[in-house]
Symmetry: C2
Subunit: 539 residues, 2 copies
């Protein structure tokens, strides 16, 4: 067979050649832009040529600090296709971590949204390798800034060559992009994505049994483009000629609902907190959501109640998936097998609220001290993953050895696997509650709490205990209308109906909101810290 490499160049070329009329709908702070893939392709090529003029060479890292919009999409292709590396940086990191990752990646140029400029200005004195700042603004003139030298993105595009050819020699194993992931302790850890990994991952997204992403879809990635390639969706959908709707900065649930309705979105993807927000909005106002063929949910386990609400109440199919920054990210998708279609609704919901089956191309196993766990959906172990879109190290980082051992990524996720092969996350290694030598899943408790009609959000954390080493405490945010009426006793009864006695949390604490990470995940470390003396004091 020919040794033609798997690279992103072919993807943008396919969109330009065969889907030149298809649209990218992009919301920025000032308006909704409508571009075709012909426009996006020409603008990406112009950007590449201008970056080359700024001195960018093969292998150089270029950072983006940006929301989901067309300019970010252009950079997704302009940078890797010229042989450089797209560093999608999370601008919500602390100043210390942000300057660390920009320096650690040795970013040469930073592309930054106008509203994010103040964040970069704060760290600019710490930046050691950055030679230029490009400001992605709708305005005709460059906003006033202390960043220097600063260029206008649109000026660069206007001066660039829209026919620039991607002739640089790219090996499929060359780096194309990178992201940093927060560590439990210490600095963020970098993950480098190869062209090969991104192409194979895109193929996986197009498979019928995964997302089935198609030309006929209208895709709205709500997951940020600074977070694990927006789950690879912009790469794959450009390749397949899918219409993209990019929701831009500071979106609200109302805005998302309006975009789904007006643009006839068929597929959208984001974390559970986003979908909780959308559910609330759908309860307040009426929207036509009938174009949606699936809401894809990942990033954290979606509470069963969310799935039920989307499907039963609103008739919107919900698809649960799982992945990590280290895995490009899609690892599993929770779909019913053909012979499960006629099971009772609750059993189907049981299956579909798991993380699901490993997608074709990857391998997984769940192991604990005794080896691979039984496929009984009960025995817990750590989930290990391997395959061509799984990282094999953290970028220039001593902590690699911990996670990458014996050819497998040790995910740090505690999971079970059932007879059918469905993986279910029960906890993060660090969030698992180890009570008297037995394991208690904080996630199972949380999901059961969140299935109660009065509960908006719940987090269960391990708290030091004088006798049992650790015991669970539940932190619950009640829905406004239940705040006066629901007591902790009501919720204890709800839990006791479903769990063994020793799983029941030692206390339920009502709080106003659950602290979250910059990508919307529960920040349990903070809660553990706040509650560390709770049981000791009580005892």
């Amino acid at each position: 067979m020919m040794d033609t490499p798997l690279t992103l160049v072919q993807k943008i070329e396919r969109a330009e050649k065969f889907f030149s009329k298809k649209q990218v709908v992009s919301r920025t702070s000032s308006k909704i832009h409508r571009l075709t893939y012909k426009d996006v392709g020409e603008r990406a090529r112009a950007l590449s040529s201008s970056l080359e003029k700024l001195g960018v060479k093969k292998g150089d890292c270029i950072a983006t600090l940006a929301w989901n919009h067309h300019r970010h999409l252009e950079a997704y292709f302009a940078v890797p296709c010229m042989g450089a590396v797209l560093h999608m940086a999370n601008f919500r990191l602390s100043e210390e971590h942000l300057s660390y990752i920009l320096n650690h990646a040795e970013d040469q140029v930073i592309l930054v949204d106008e509203d994010i400029v103040p964040i970069v200005e704060k760290v600019q004195d710490q930046l050691k390798t950055v030679k230029a700042f490009v400001i992605m603004t709708d305005k005709d003139s460059l906003p006033s800034t202390t960043l220097s030298p600063a260029y206008s993105y649109e000026d660069l595009i206007a001066d660039g060559d829209p026919t620039f050819e991607y002739t640089v020699d790219i090996d499929e194993n060359d780096p194309a992009a990178m992201c940093y992931t927060s560590a439990t302790t210490g600095k963020p850890k970098g993950v480098v994505y190869s062209h090969r990994g991104l192409v194979l991952h895109s193929m996986a997204l197009g498979l019928s049994d995964t997302l089935g992403l198609s030309e006929s879809d209208v895709l709205m990635p709500v997951v940020p483009m600074f977070h694990v390639n927006a789950w690879g969706l912009p790469f794959a959908s450009t390749w397949f000629g899918t219409t993209q709707v990019l929701p831009g900065p500071m979106f609200t649930p109302k805005l998302l609902a309006e975009l789904i309705e007006s643009e006839q979105v068929t597929l959208t993807a984001g974390v559970p907190t986003v979908w909780l927000g959308l559910l609330n909005e759908l309860e307040i106002n009426d929207y036509d959501m009938s174009s949606l063929r699936a809401v894809v949910c990942g990033g954290s386990a979606a509470p069963r109640g969310i799935i039920r609400a989307f499907e039963s109440k609103h008739g919107i199919p919900f698809l649960h998936a799982y992945g990590l920054t280290e895995t490009t990210p899609v690892v599993t998708a929770a779909r019913l097998k053909s012979y499960q279609q006629d099971l009772p609704e609750e059993e189907k919901l049981d299956i579909r609220s798991k993380q699901g089956l490993i997608v074709p191309g990857l391998e997984a196993k769940v192991v604990n001290d005794r080896g691979e766990v039984k496929r009984d959906g009960k025995e817990m172990g750590e989930l290990l993953v391997r395959g061509p879109w799984i990282a094999n190290e953290y970028y220039k980082d001593d902590r690699s050895e911990e996670a990458f051992r014996d050819g497998w990524l040790h995910t740090g996720d505690i999971a079970t696997i059932d007879e059918e092969g469905n993986i279910k996350l029960v906890d993060r290694t660090k969030d698992l509650i180890k009570s008297g030598g037995e394991w208690i899943s904080s996630v199972d408790l949380e999901n059961t709490l969140m299935a109660h009609e009065s509960v908006f959000e719940a987090a269960v954390v391990a708290v030091p205990h004088p006798k049992w080493i650790e015991r669970p405490i539940a932190c619950v945010v009640l829905k406004d209308q239940y705040k006066e009426s629901v007591t902790k006793e009501v919720l204890f009864e709800h839990l006791k109906a479903q769990f063994a006695k020793w799983w029941i949390p030692d206390d339920i604490v009502f709080i106003e909101q659950i602290p979250k990470t910059s990508v919307g995940k529960f920040l349990k470390r903070t809660l553990r810290e706040q509650l560390k003396d709770h049981l000791v004091e009580k005892a």
Copy 2:
């Protein structure tokens, strides 16, 4: 990213682990067998272990001469997963060509169906490398044969190790399988498929916009498993856990219709002559074909009339695809883009009767003496293809240089490409009619003839002409009920309504049947030979 190789081992393991209950329905000469993927996996492993005991090593070629059934499927995995090379041999070749390919591939073991044993017996004295024959029979005892040493497939399985592990080190670029393709002149040419090529090709088959092959499908590959990996379908469907229905030896249109109805087949694939036969059967007898979501057609261009008949008359969606032995084989699929769904029916049929858009992962261009042709759907040129599942040579064959030049496969197919990127084959290079310096497409003329209600089949060939160098002659097989009533004048009128005067064949000759190759394609060489003096004599 991890450098885990793309191999077939992962595919069979996925079926064994996650789709162990799903079925392979296999028809042999004596009965319908029903196996699970657990069975198929164990039997494949047992076969591998027995082949190893017979002395088969990594890189050895093992031939199969067999119909579509479960034992052939087992060999599809048993051979490549132990590092050997599966040579799917076409037993319908002439004795000279059959012994040539078995010797040229240096086959060590031949797996042969009981009813094909006599064919192998005829060439056995010419075979230089074969150390053993394995007879794939349902019977308890080995049939009497002069082949020696001969083993019973089921005895080998019974003695083999169903837990045999695929531990041999396989590089993704290692050969996994091979097929020979007939040449216009001379011996067949060998094409070697790598593990990487077969895995990537399988992914392409699973993409929503290609075949969308899924676990939920019930697939019946009618295309022979000795012909280009049965279009890669057995590999892909095993990977995805798709139910397979293998129609076995000497099937008839009636048998295919019965299997579709009884097994609730959702997807089936074959050449136009097979579908013409099925159409005839559907006109004679009633069947419930409602399970079919698509009939996939390739191998030759499907006449527009077939597509119309399947869809309008029988409500069966028809999908046109294109590929070659050299291309694993899928290169294009003819699907409407989302914005074409509302076009008038006839315009949609125009698009869908083309070969379609190049699938993600491959690149194509159409070139003639003036360079790349205009994307106007009119200018003709040769189709060139490249990508990771396109061959880069013929196996140990001097004729490679002709077809593989400048990094592209020169397909020998004359095509046009339209504004949307759809490729349409107009002829084989060797069948194109070059009349007075202009090109005439034999395929266009044939399809128009076959669209006439009276015509069963038609082939148009170039015949030497004293003035114009070449002129077209049409050879037509009329449907039985029209044989008395339809004259050549009727068909001339039909053609004149649609083509320029100089395209109209110089004569129409009625014949009883069109000679065909062993895989059902028109054998125009024979017709050209028969008619070579037709116009000279007339003149």
